[in-house]
Symmetry: C2
Subunit: 205 residues, 2 copies
């Protein structure tokens, strides 16, 4: 039986896989993430991505006019989704679950790649990738934290005026600070400590 | 009467000011900070610093073998000192005073320059400048916050077990996060909010 793998192996160099539309796009975006992880922002080339995706450079340029456009889309598509607000019966459990999801996004392959790109790229590109963090991680997670606290207020376990920006910023602030300054990778135990020793005391009715 | 100013103006170009030891060193360090602020890390040269300090390149190289050594010393010497822990009678006032000092260090000219250098320099130098933030700002301010909370415990206004790393990290975490993500410059009012709405509730007995 001829599997698709052996068919690919038998294909002469330069013959395209004839993938089209979303399938080819996904292959290019995955190759871009792969390149980012192996050679970084400075090492990544449109040509290298085309080779990685087993397609031609024209197919890449047709969809993404620049390396910056391609990398931004690859990161956006690759970052794990945060999903809907958890509703596990207590604000403690909801915050714990949500923090773990945020941690998993931060330490996903695209999450690492995004931070590395920000260190390597010039100031102009940095603005765009910074915006990607804001729209892809900061804002959606802030909305979910707000939802979770609202649920807690509705349950009567959280004080009614706790849903303010300053209190809600404590979790992302701590996650950023300790990962940057203390090189913490936010184990489940550290997340539980943050919730139990900081957030629950700040929120309780 | 010939003032030192008119004497300097009358000096032919290339004639050294004949300053020695600490006076000349301070002039070089100040010129380095000045260069950093005007042309950045990439634009700064030992020659430019020598010109700015009205001395020769050899006088600079004799003291600092590399640009990195010079800039590190200029930043270290230029960062405002945090002083001793304030003791104003209440933990609220002490934290407020200390946060304002930390803010003033962050937004001092060397504070700005240090952040700019970290963006511009390569990964190897970044490690050294990052270390400078840790030893020059992060660690000394953490010690002072700890002292202030200890004083609060001694006064009986702070719960005895509040002096833990997690609680103490909330202030620097929030200061870093909001200056990075929300472009906050930490007005006195914002500092007061942070103390009154986050820290006092977390600390009180």
């Amino acid at each position: 039986m001829v599997t698709s793998h052996s068919a690919a192996a038998a294909r002469p160099a330069g013959v395209s896989l004839r993938r089209r539309g979303p399938v080819l796009e996904r292959a290019i975006l995955e190759a871009a993430l792969e390149q980012l992880s192996s050679v970084g922002w400075n090492g990544l080339t449109m040509e290298g991505v085309a080779v990685g995706a087993q397609t031609g450079k024209a197919a890449v340029y047709r969809r993404w006019p620049s390396k910056e456009d391609l990398v931004a889309d690859a990161l956006r598509a690759g970052l794990p989704a945060l999903g809907k607000a958890p509703d596990l019966g207590s604000v403690r459990e909801d915050l714990y679950e949500l923090c773990r999801r945020v941690r998993d996004v931060m330490y996903s392959k695209p999450g690492f790649a995004l931070r590395a790109v920000l260190h390597e790229c010039d100031a102009e590109s940095a603005e765009r990738f910074h915006e990607l963090i804001v729209t892809g991680v900061t804002e959606p997670s802030a909305r979910l934290f707000r939802d979770v606290v609202k649920q807690g207020v509705a349950r009567g376990e959280v004080r009614a005026d706790a849903n303010d920006d300053l209190v809600l910023d404590v979790i992302p602030a701590m996650m950023m600070y300790r990962s940057k300054v203390c090189a913490s990778e936010w184990s489940d135990g550290e997340i539980a400590d943050l919730i139990d020793r900081i957030m629950v005391p700040l929120l309780r009715a």
